[in-house]
Amino acid sequence: MQPLPQDHITKEIAKLQRPLGGRRWLSWLLAFVTLAFCLGIPLAASLYPSLFVESGKQVAQTPAPVGGTLKGSAVPTAHALDNRWNPGKLAASHAPWAQDCKVCHSTPFARVKDEDCKACHKDAGEHVEDGAQIAGMPALHETRCATCHRDHQGQFGLVEQNKRYTGATCASCHADLKSKMPDTAIADVGDFATKHPAFRIQIAQEGGRLQRIRQKDKTNGMEVTGLKFPHDVHLAAKGIAGPKGKEVLECASCHKPNPDNVGFQTVTMKDNCQSCHSLAFEPALPNRQVPHGSPEEALSTLREFYGYAGSSKVALDARASTGPVAVARPGMASAPAASFIKGPGDARQRAAAAATELFEKTACTVCHTVSRVPGPGKAGTPGADLPQYSIEPVAPRHAWFRKSVFNHASHRNTSCADCHAAPKSGKASEVLIPSIDTCRSCHVGVTPQTGKIASDCGLCHSFHLPAPEAPEARP
């Protein structure tokens, strides 16, 4: 084969046959640019932020949240150059610190620490009160805030989690808690439909002491209220005598929801009882009442009233010109008690007669357990020389459930009586909290079932302990 002539055709074809150049330098270039943009620059700006600002100037600081301290953020990353690492939008509440990763990620190559969260979220309750118990149980101290609360899931990510994170893993400890903590009072629990124990209801005991008692048939009747209150009489379908004749009461007549719709406003004598249960003491002047509160004040009012009424020449009140004489309580047999003003004896004796009538017959004793105690009363009070009474203390207002939340507003489509057997309850000591079976008529556990609501632990329970409840005195 003769050699090719070295003309332009041979040369051009030889050139065309050479592999296309540029692959190597293009590879180096792209690799370098990618590494610098994605890793080198953000890393340097995070580790050595001062390199990225003019000498003498400070790296821009992120403002601390209200009531918080930005613990991890000694010097933020310069120009937020590490923001290109952000894998997803922060929750709206955390977004103000989106430009400063180190606010939460305080230590490189370590997962976000609970202390970083608690720098702002100081009041987050623990799961268990006893710190030693937490330390002794890996499942507790290995559970981090971020085990459940994961940010970078979008603007509403945390809100969604708080609503939905329902502790699918609660049962991993609570299904067999007794094996780890033999002395615990907490019963083992699994699925709500099949393995949830009876509720433990907080019940007032002697002296106002609150105690959580596992609900059984006998719990009904255990609440020491110090009151006499038959729900059945008040809720009678045919009605009950009121100041303006027969009135049919319903639950909402006395139980008004709180503005937050979770619980109810406190039932008070003034707002809910006194329109019927008048504290009038003088049949001749039914619009005069003793104050509701301490017996001492009531007795002093009586003593002062009859002392003045006996000596005064001025008409005290105009009587109703027509109609029957008002009696202490609507519906009471209208045996017209004689006026005490014109009664026998002196002012003290009249006041004593009125007090006996009021405490023992017409008013106090209707709702309270009243007992007569030896006098005299408190020195220096006008009523000290009258018969003295003591009223059994009323149980403090308290929550029935300490470790769960029941939202009445969510259940407003059902009638009260579907769960609370109030219309049949004749005693105040009866606890009208329904049993778990009532809940189960609508709610099943996590496994969905036709016609029922799938419910996980988080529907009623929270992982974090609530702040300890201070018992509230009943006004």
């Binding site: 296309l20 293009l26 894998p87 976000v112 994170y165």
Partner: protein, 276 residues
């Protein structure tokens, strides 16, 4: 067809592997119930991420094995077969690893680069399956320099025919000195807008033969035929070079992008654990 290529290598051995592994990944994803949202942060997310990273290393190793001519580590056709099918598997694994969460960040950049490399790879597979036959047909058992020799012989024949006609000689030399491609762009399209031979043929057609005497008339007709055959040959060379250029062009995307991907992958992993 009984001959095996890199697709059907060892009765589709790597295709079967990819199908089995891909099915396992899809089933795991389908039956996985993440406590919060799916993504790289769940145990399956970490698992798929690790598997994907290992696949990327295996796929990149093909580039090394390809250059290691003395290696005994499997034959190259097997490596290519695995490279193709595991590359397609990687598209699935990487997509599941994302949990379908994307954003303007380096993590999604790594994903985009992964998909870019895989798509350019699929393009390469298409080229490798189609081009060699086309290129073989164009050369018909000869070499590119043989075709160049044909051009040269057309030019010599023209010179003999037109030796007494300076006007024709000028045109023949103009045609003979023209380049196959006047710019790199032509290599991608397979054409040459400034082709000297095409220009000469156009000039001959435009000027016609009316003014010429009999001898020159005959000579020009012969030259025209030869120039027409020359341009046919040129088109064959250009089409061959076009095909060949594209078989290299896709690699010019595939290889640098895969190295950028390696860097983005490193950045992705470091970033994820730096701010864990």
């Amino acid at each position: 067809m009984t001959q095996s290529n890199f697709i059907s290598y060892e009765r589709h051995r790597y295709f079967k592997w990819a199908v089995v592994l891909g099915t396992i990944c899809v089933l795991l994803y389908a039956f996985h119930t993440p406590e919060l949202t799916p993504g790289g942060g769940t145990w399956l997310g970490y698992g798929l991420g690790t598997f994907g990273a290992l696949l990327i290393l295996l796929l990149l190793a093909f580039g090394l094995r390809k250059r290691a001519y003395r290696s005994d580590l499997g034959n190259l056709r097997g490596w290519l077969s695995a490279h193709v099918f595991f590359g397609i598997l990687l598209a699935l694994v990487a997509t599941l690893h994302t949990g379908f969460e994307f954003g303007w960040n380096i993590h999604t950049l790594a994903y985009v680069l992964t998909m870019g490399v895989i798509i350019s790879g699929l393009w390469g597979v298409g080229l490798y399956l189609r081009q060699p036959t086309l290129m073989g047909n164009l050369l018909d058992g000869r070499t590119l320099q043989d075709l160049g020799q044909d051009l040269r012989s057309f030019d010599d024949q023209c010179r003999v025919v037109a030796k007494d006609h300076p006007r024709l000689m000028t045109m023949i030399e103009e045609s003979a000195s023209g380049a196959i491609f006047s710019s790199f762009w032509g290599r991608l399209t397979g054409g040459n807008r400034r082709c000297a031979t095409a220009k000469v043929l156009a000039q001959m057609a435009r000027e016609g033969t009316q003014q010429l005497d009999d001898r020159e008339h005959r000579a020009q007709a012969e030259v025209q035929t030869l120039q027409f055959r020359r341009i046919q040959k040129l088109k064959r060379i250009r089409e061959f070079v076009r095909l060949r250029t594209w078989t290299e062009m896709w690699l010019l995307l595939h290889v640098p992008m895969s190295l950028a991907l390696l860097m983005a992958l490193i950045a992705h992993i470091v970033a994820v654990f730096f701010y864990w």
